[in-house]
């Protein structure tokens, strides 16, 4: 029913771009705003951990052992007498870093691949997307496990491996965007104005494809963090003395009967972050009016 759209009257002289519109909608979404705040908070803490952490990263106190939360150790200590809050803060650095870096890897590869395939089209597109289809059918979860087994637990490899999985969906989304935008009349109009392909991509395609990409990026970060935590839980991810939330949860699960706080606090940190990112992603999806991008 487009009965109401046309009746809007224009009062203000200053127009509102779709970005401003989206931001206005996002601001009204309390959950998304909450997600954004939590996220900013966690990222700030992660950046400032070396100065903020109450104890040194490797400080042990074997005599102390595992203690429940107390004034000295707000979240308690683990069986080695290490301060859990400190552990969670350092673990968060790794978990968030994996999330952001691997997503960035996926973003760069996926967007480039998809944009090229979508813009060039024809045979190049067919070949590029067939490759994506084949890779898509590969059981990557198992492959990552395999990679970690074969090459040992290596953080860089983890970034690359996870990034290599996640770029596929990104490429598909980007290609779909570019393809549908290319058929839009405003792109035809740009061509008939005589704009160069580079300008058309920069001024007409990218700004319009950005919405879904932003949304999907926000939703990729939590799934990447989940993957890292999964691997670390199995003992195939981050390796001690480095730590991550997944590793902490894994330790916590082993001793949860006696020391449940060792499971609950790292679990809460991970879950809260994932919540924040998913709420933000959902909020952005609504605000930018992006329709069902694949989960």
């Amino acid at each position: 029913m487009n009965t109401l759209a046309d009746s809007e009257t224009l009062v203000a002289e200053q127009g509102t771009s779709l970005w401003q519109d989206a931001w206005r909608r996002l601001r009204k979404n309390r959950l998304a705003l909450f997600g954004l705040c939590v996220l900013v908070f966690f990222v700030l803490i992660a950046l400032l951990t070396p100065w903020l952490a109450p104890y040194a990263h490797d400080a042990q106190n074997l005599d102390l052992g595992a203690t429940p939360p107390s004034a000295a150790h707000w979240l308690g200590t683990d069986i080695f007498g290490r301060d859990l809050l400190t552990q969670i803060m350092y673990g968060g650095r790794i978990s968030l870093a994996v999330g952001f870096v691997a997503t960035a890897v996926a973003l760069v590869i996926g967007v480039t691949w998809g944009a090229v395939a979508g813009y060039v089209g024809g045979r190049v597109d067919a070949i590029m997307m067939r490759l994506v289809d084949i890779l898509y059918a590969l059981p990557f979860m198992i492959f990552i496990v395999l990679l970690m087994v074969v090459f040992g637990r290596n953080l860089l490899l983890l970034f690359l491996a996870i990034g290599a999985v996640e770029w596929l969906t990104m490429a598909r989304i980007m290609r779909g965007q570019v393809q549908s935008l290319r058929q839009q009349e405003f792109v035809e109009a740009a061509i008939s104005l005589g704009l160069s392909p580079a300008t058309i991509v920069r001024r007409h395609l990218v700004p319009n494809a950005l919405g879904p990409i932003i949304v999907y990026t926000t939703l990729t970060i939590p799934s990447v963090m989940l993957l890292e935590a999964f691997l670390s839980f199995l003992g195939l991810g981050v390796q001690p003395p480095a730590t991550s939330w997944g590793l902490l949860i894994s330790y916590g699960a082993e001793t949860m009967e006696e020391y449940p706080w060792l499971l609950i606090f790292p679990g809460a940190a991970l879950t809260l972050t994932l919540f924040a990112l998913n709420f933000l992603g959902d909020g952005l999806r609504d605000a930018l009016d992006v329709r069902g991008s694949g989960d």
């Binding site: 289809d133 084949i134 059918a137 590969l138 059981p139 979860m141 198992i142 492959f143 496990v145 395999l146 990679l147 087994v149 074969v150 090459f151 040992g152 939590p222 989940l226 935590a229 999964f230 839980f233 199995l234 003992g235 195939l236 997944g246 949860i249 894994s250 916590g252 699960a253 949860m256 009967e257 449940p260 499971l263 609950i264 679990g267 991970l270 879950t271 994932l274 919540f275 998913n278 709420f279 069902g292 989960d295």
Partner: protein, 310 residues
């Protein structure tokens, strides 16, 4: 339709071949041979062992021999369990994993589908918010956290259900199935809600209402089919995820399934076992993907017709 199925099957072959090849060479280039750990192996014994496992042949020949075995369904002997073949080990672990996977899938489809459809019927009401909030928790709560938490609450504190095992005690299958299925129930809930909302805004739903059909018939006869196609298409990826999740769940609940074998094989560097299991699981995943694709296409008369006539 048969052309579609045939085409997709043909596409699956290179995928499986790629899996086999990549896995084979990855495992072979891995640092550290399988018998390195046994320090005092007599050279003759080692040579005999290597001959038995065909490690003395050039890599290319090893590969071809392996492919030949595969063609007969032979996955070769295990490195770590002398005298037992990978086939036997997989056969030993498969029943528990298959059962666990089936229950989890059931949990995911029934709970998720119901929650999603119910939520979609009254968007932005309590009927929508409550199941969707739970689904959000399901998505954000990883399996390896949910499992221990469920054990903590229902196994240790309330003592309602056994904390581990599979088929040993009544009710010991409930927690693992719930744990494994929860995340996918959450995804399916979100997918089916979105799918149903999309369909319910279509013109043909208005047509159905204009016919005077009661709302439940509008939903069941006209909306469900289109609304659940995304869910069907998701079953393939969900299956892959379930298998990976079974690694964790079987470890947590000490279930003697394929997943636990796989993780143990990984730690033991039991290369033939890793190789065999990867090939087996990958094939399974590829086939399941295929199945869900075909099912989704079959639900769409247009696709069905196109491939049926052509």
């Amino acid at each position: 339709m048969w052309r579609f199925v045939g085409g997709r099957l043909l596409q699956a072959i290179p995928v499986i071949l790629a899996v086999v090849t990549v896995t084979f060479f990855l495992v072979r280039v891995a640092p550290g041979g399988p018998f390195d750990s046994e320090k005092a192996v007599i050279p003759e014994v080692k040579a005999a062992l290597e001959a038995q496992y065909r490690l003395d042949l050039p890599l290319g020949q090893q590969y071809l021999a392996y492919l030949g075995d595969l063609a007969h369904g032979e996955l070769g002997p295990s490195f770590k369990y002398p005298g037992r073949s990978v086939n036997e080990l997989i056969a030993a672990g498969l029943p528990a994993t298959a059962e666990l996977g089936a229950y989890a899938l059931l949990v995911a489809i029934v709970l998720g589908g119901l929650a999603g459809v119910i939520a979609s019927l009254k968007p932005n009401s309590a009927q929508d918010y409550i199941p969707m909030s739970i689904a959000m928790i399901g998505i954000c709560m990883p399996t390896f956290l949910l499992g221990p938490l469920l054990v903590l609450v229902f196994g240790i504190h309330l003592e309602w259900l056994p904390v581990s095992g599979w088929g040993d005690m009544p009710g010991d299958k409930i927690l693992p199935s719930l744990t494994l299925g929860a995340a996918y129930a959450a995804y399916i809930a979100r997918l089916s809600r979105a799918g149903m909302l999309e369909v319910m805004s279509q013109d043909y739903i208005r047509t159905a209402r204009a016919k005077g059909l009661p709302e439940w018939q509008v939903v069941t006869r006209h909306a469900l089919r289109g609304g659940l196609i995304p869910v069907v298409a998701f079953l393939g990826p969900a299956f892959a995820g379930l298998l990976a999740g079974s690694f964790v769940v079987e470890t947590i609940f000490q279930i003697p399934g394929l997943g636990r074998f796989y993780v143990q094989a990984a730690f033991n560097r039991d290369y033939t076992m890793i190789l065999g299991t990867t090939v087996f699981l990958s094939t399974l995943i590829v086939l399941f993907n295929l199945l869900s694709d075909i099912l989704a296409a079959w639900l769409n008369p247009r696709l069905r017709g196109q491939y049926g006539e052509a």
